[in-house]
Structure formats: C-alpha cells, structure tokens
C-alpha cells in the first residue's frame, strides 16, 4: 500500500498523456486529409521565422497592450512548467521536492522564487485578459462568430490558468518545510499566514490536495487543448515554420491548369488526340476548393492553429465596412468542417462517408468570398503566420472554374480580357492611343 500514491500518479499521468496523444494522432490524420505541400525551400528563412515570429512573438507586440500581457503569460507558462518536471519525478518516485536534493538550496530557491513571481504576473495578466473580453468589450471579441462556444472557450482557458496559478502558490504556501527554508517563498510567504492556526496535519492535507489538483489540472488542460482554440500554444511553432516565405502578393500557379494551357498553346498538339489513358478510379483534378479535402495541409494546420484573436478581422477592409467577410470566421469554419469530417471518418471505420455537406455553402458563403479585396491585411496581422487569403482564393477558383459562379460584372470583365486583352471593351489596337492624347 505504500506505493499506492505512486501507482495512482502513474496511472493518471499515463492516461492523461495517452488520451492527449490519441487526439494528436487524430489531429495529424485530419491535417493529412489536405494535399501535400513542398516546404523544403528556404529552410533558413523558415527557422528564422520560428525564432522571431513564434518564439520571439515579434508580431504580437505590434499591439503593445495585448502583446505585452501575452508575453508575460507565455514566458510564465513555459518557465513555470519547468516545475512540472519536478512534480512528475516526485509523483512517480514518491520523493518530495526532488529539486532540493539535486540543486543547492540557493539555486532551488531562486528557481521557485522566479516561478512564484511569474505566477503572480500571469494571474494579473489573465485577469486583465478576462476584463478585456468580458467587461471592456473590445470589438474584435464581439463579432458574430464569437458567440456561444468560442466565447466560453476563451473564458474557460483563462479560468484554467487562474486555478493552476493559485494552486501552485497555495501548494508552496502550505508546504511548511519549504516555508521554513526561507528561500524561494517570495510570494507564498505572504499567503502562508492565511493558513495560520491550522494544524500541521491539515496544512499537509491542503498542500497535498493542491499538489494533486495542480497535476491533474495540468493534465486536464493539456487534454482540453484539442477541443479548444488554445492549440496554438503547440501548433504556432510548426505553423510559423510552414508559413509563407515568398512575397505575400505571390499566389500559387495551379499546375493542373498549366498543363492544359501549355497544351492549348502548343501548335503541334493534336486537338483530336484521344486523352491519355487514365485508370478507372482516377479522379480528374478539381480546380480550387469546395471542401477541406481540397485545401492544403498547411491551410488545415492554419485552421487548427488559429486562436481566434481576431486581429485579422479587425484589419480587414471588408469587415471594417460592414461586409459579412471575417478572415477569422474563414479559419474557424475550416476547422469546424475539418472536425466534422474527422468525426465522420471515426464513425465510419476510417472511411469518409458523404454527408451532403461541404465547406462552401454550408459554412462559408459566396458573399463572404466575393467581399475580399485580397489586400493581405489579414495575413500581415496574424501573429502566427496564418493565411486566410489563400483559402478565400482557393474557393473563388472553385466558384469560377468549376461552377462558373462569378458575379456577373466579373464575368463581363473576364470576357473582355479574353476577347480584347483588357478588362474593358476597348480595342486591342487602341492600346497605344494615350501617346497622342492629352
């Protein structure tokens, strides 16, 4: 029975990590539904972006208030989690504050002391975040796509962080040996008096409870990630790595189209030639995207990475002038549909069964897609290199090339280009008339 706590700890730890791992596997499988992208180019630039944009948060701090608060929570979270290492070792081997037996007291005290200070800073930041979301009513948190679950999700994450930080501080405050050491209890020494007058036994119970709840809380939080917008704490790094490293204005050229255009322009091509043999089940390439499977793996990773901060939407000219388009909603819709497809696959033994739905129409409307000015403001604004514009363009391609569903004025414009090489109905031979006009 002596080892019971160790065994319980190991079971909780393994099941916590195991469940998370199974969801990560699902996440990877879902992302792989998209088509592959070659990202072997510009490796040094990609790593530079990971260091500056993801690790260094260079784009977040462009909005100083939220950027600064975020930096505190980010640094706090990473550093305080070093403590988790000690907790795991203690839990598995039944030791208590193993760090003390490995490190000199002064070093250990310095570490825990820094964690405590950070914990308080995180607490304060998180409370300010909560106020920004719920009291000050900042516009980008009030958009229509932020109603319901996305709003609760944002708050739940904040509550988690408050609880975890409080548990950490209480755990330290009620640890009498740690308090008596008088090194590292920079903050908890002020909390300890709250528990004055309690017996040593009670204190120990509180300390143990806080310790256990802290561990369990961390594991629950870890598993909450998959169901939440908070996945960005992990995915921001790969997402930035796979982000666009060419000029933002450069849209990809569709290779399937290039092949056909080359054939059309080739004077030696035989227009009556039989199409090349293709196997029965080979599906002809679809132009553009109407569902998540038509998007790229990077675009799907983008969708999972989005933490719904809304900086994109708050910079979008269409959104600022009251149009329906919201780049954040494009990302949220993509993820929601991808999750739906994933669940469909789970329910049908690993095979996607047509559910009569798709991203286009059921989630994203034509009206949203046609409101985009392709100005790249959303791409520029995203702190983690998400590219909502590429999804919009991919879906426009489907609308135009598969469905001929462009707005009428655009069809006129395109017919003009086809007929006379200009978007207006002017004669090609008049192209140089400006030379002699005034």
């Amino acid at each position: 029975m002596e080892y019971l706590p160790n065994i319980i700890f190991a079971i909780i730890l393994i099941s916590g990590i195991g469940y998370f791992a199974s969801n990560v596997k699902k996440l990877i499988r879902n992302i792989k539904l998209g088509h592959k992208v070659d990202a072997n180019d510009n490796k040094s630039e990609r790593w530079k972006n990971v260091i500056n944009i993801a690790l260094g948060q260079s784009k977040l701090v462009k909005r100083p208030v939220s950027g600064f608060l975020h930096a505190i929570v980010y640094v706090g979270f990473i550093i305080i989690n070093i403590e988790v290492l000690e907790i795991i070792i203690d839990g598995l081997f039944g030791t208590h504050r193993i760090g003390l037996s490995v490190l000199p007291e002064s070093v250990y005290g310095f570490l825990i002391g820094s964690f405590e200070v950070l914990a308080v800073l995180v607490l304060v930041s998180v409370i300010v975040f909560w106020i920004r979301r719920n009291v000050i009513k900042i516009k980008r948190f009030l958009s229509s796509e932020m109603k319901g679950w996305p709003k609760s999700d944002g708050n739940i994450i904040l509550y988690f962080e408050v609880v975890l930080m409080c548990l950490f501080l209480i755990m330290n405050a009620t640890d009498t040996t740690f308090q008596n050491m008088e090194a590292g209890n920079v903050i908890s020494q002020f909390i300890a008096p709250w528990f004055n007058g309690l017996s040593e036994g009670t204190l120990s119970v509180i300390e143990r409870s806080a310790w256990w709840l802290h561990v369990v809380g961390i594991l629950i939080f870890l598993n909450y990630l998959y169901f939440s917008k908070h996945l960005h704490i992990l995915l921001a790094f790969p997402n930035v790595y796979f982000g666009k490293v060419v000029p933002k204005g450069k849209f990809n050229n569709l290779e399937a189209v290039t092949a056909e255009v080359k054939l059309m322009m080739d004077p030696d091509a035989d227009p009556y030639a039989a199409p090349p043999e293709t196997s029965e089940d080979e599906v002809p390439a679809k132009f553009g995207a109407s569902d998540v499977m038509d998007l790229s793996q990077v675009q799907l990773l983008n969708a999972y990475t989005c933490t719904e901060c809304g900086r994109c939407t708050s910079e979008c000219p269409a959104n600022l002038t009251g149009k329906k388009l919201s780049p954040r909603k494009i990302m949220m819709d993509t993820r929601d549909r991808l999750e739906e497809v994933g669940k469909n696959i789970d329910a049908n033994n690993g095979e996607f069964k047509d559910d009569g739905k798709q991203l286009l129409g059921d989630y994203i409307t034509n009206e949203e897609l046609w409101a985009c000015t392709t100005c790249n403001a959303c791409v520029e604004a995203c702190p983690v290199s998400i590219d909502p514009l590429s999804i919009i363009v991919e879906m426009r391609r489907y609308l135009v090339m598969e469905q001929s569903a462009a707005p009428m004025e655009l069809n006129t414009m395109m017919t003009n280009i086809e007929n006379n090489g200009a978007p207006w109905p002017y004669n090609q031979m008049d192209r140089l008339n400006w030379k002699d006009e005034n």
Binding site: V246, P247, K248, G249, K250, F251, N253, L254, V257, V261, K262, M264, M265, G288, P317, A318, L320, T321, G322, K323, K324, L325, E367, W370, C372, T373, T374, C375, N376, A377, E380, V393, R396, R397, V400, M401, A406, P407, E409, L410, M413, M414, I417, E418, G421, A422, P423, W424, Y426, Q428, M429, D430, R431, L432, N433, W434, K435, D436, E437, N438
Partner: protein, 260 residues
C-alpha cells in the same frame, strides 16, 4: 497644349536593331482608363526628361491576367501570362518598369513559374534610381512645404514590402510628408483590389474607399499621393464624395515628379 512624347515600341526598336535598357509595361488601366492615362503620360515625360532608352510593347501588350487570377480564373490568367511571356521573351526583355503595382506583383512573382523571368520594378523605385544616379534632377520648389500623405498600394506595400521608395521620392520634392494612422504594413486597402474594381461591393455599411479617404483627410493633406492607378480612382472618388476636390488633389507620384 499637347506635349509631344517620345514613346518607341519594342517592334520599332527591334527593326532598328536596338535594345532598350528597360521595358515600360503600361498595363490595361494605364492604356485605357482616362485618369490612368495621365499617369502614364507623366511617367513617360519623366523617362524622356531623364533620357531613358526605353520602349513599350504598344499593341503587342495584353492584360497581365492579374485581375482574372484574383477573381479565381486561373485559366484566363495563365493564358494571358503565357501569351505575354512569349512576346516578352521574343524581345529578350530583361528589365521591366510599370506604374501598376498589380502588374508589378503579377509579372515579378507569378510569371517566373510560367517561364517569364525578368527584373521587375515599380515606377517609384525607378524614379528613385534615376534621381540617385543623377539622371533626373528636381528643382524642389513646386511642392516645397506642401502637406502630402501617401497611400500605400496593397500590392506594392504588404504584398512586396516596398514601402520606402515612394516615400524617399516624395521627400525629394521637399514636401512635408504626413503619415496616415494606418500606413505601411497596416495601410488600409482602397477597396479596388481582388477584382473589386470591376464589381459592386457586397452589402455593408460603408464603401472601403470612403473609409480610406477619411484616413487620409485626418492628416489634412493638400495632396494625396498614390502609386497605383486603381488606388488613384478610388481615392479621387472618395475625395469627391467628401466634397473636398477643390482643396485636395489626388496625384500619382509620377505626376508629382513630372511637375517637380
């Protein structure tokens, strides 16, 4: 008074066995749109003044296909691109300058994948180059002390990170350059990009060009400087909507420099 411009075409040059140092890509707006044609003429005036050995494609130029691509018509884009590339490569073009950031972006970034590799620069970059090399001199009095604000075209700024060239050129006019609150990376679109120029806007509570004009008006400018024919149209319309056309001019940087 009609000023005679010297505008050689590539075909004429080739017939004489000459190769220009740079090709001026006029673009569809610059060729046909009444307002944009003035920008084209102003830029040629600068080229003539600086004795640049340039040429245009003239009637051999066709739409870049850029707007078709943004609208989602990749077929039409690639057809246009391949045709243009054939012409450009036949003339062995190496360097291209254009007043249209959309053509600039498209030829610079999207033509290489289809076999068209050129050095492409925006006219504000070329004007800067001409001034720096001493080929173009400005008298520096026309706009001295005038309040000018520059509206970044999306496809020059955010799309290709060209922010300094237009500003450096404007500073050479001795004007007072005032930035709008949203500028450079956070500049607001004029509303014409992504094929919006050719269609009505979706339902909303405001036109984008009005919002952007309001940004510009906050700086109390005498001149709103642009570097894109579409932005120019949108901002001109915005200023008219605000009934400020008597006090505020919307001018392309080429026009400003041609008079400076």
């Amino acid at each position: 008074m009609s000023e005679q411009l010297n505008v050689p075409t590539m075909a004429e040059m080739m017939a004489e066995g000459k190769q220009p140092e740079i090709l001026f890509w006029v673009g569809s707006a610059g060729s046909y749109d009444d307002r944009a044609k003035k920008i084209t003429r102003a830029f040629v005036k600068i080229l003539n003044k600086a004795n640049v050995n340039f040429a245009v494609l003239g009637t051999e130029e066709s739409n870049t296909g850029d707007v078709a691509k943004r609208a989602g018509n990749e077929f039409l884009f690639q057809m246009q691109a391949v045709m243009n590339i054939e012409v450009l490569n036949a003339y062995d073009v190496k360097r291209i300058v254009t007043c249209d950031p959309h053509s600039f972006n498209c030829i610079k970034n999207e033509y290489p994948g289809l076999g068209g590799n050129y050095e492409v620069i925006h006219h504000t970059q070329y004007i800067e180059e001409l001034i720096k090399s001493g080929r173009l001199t400005l008298d520096g009095n026309t706009y001295k002390g005038k309040r000018i604000t520059f509206h970044d075209p999306c496809y020059l700024g955010r799309a290709n990170s060209v922010y300094d060239a237009p500003r450096d050129v404007l500073k050479k006019t001795n004007a007072t350059l005032i930035e709008m609150k949203r500028h450079k990376g956070t500049a607001l679109c004029c509303g014409a990009g992504g094929a919006q120029m050719f269609k009505d806007a979706e339902p909303g509570n405001k036109e984008i060009n009005i919002l952007r004009t309001e940004d510009a008006l906050e700086t109390q400018p005498e001149i709103i400087a642009t570097g894109c024919p579409y932005c120019n149209t949108m901002m001109t319309d915005g200023v008219k909507f605000k009934e400020k056309e008597a006090d505020i001019k919307v001018m392309d940087i080429a026009e400003l420099i041609a008079n400076a």
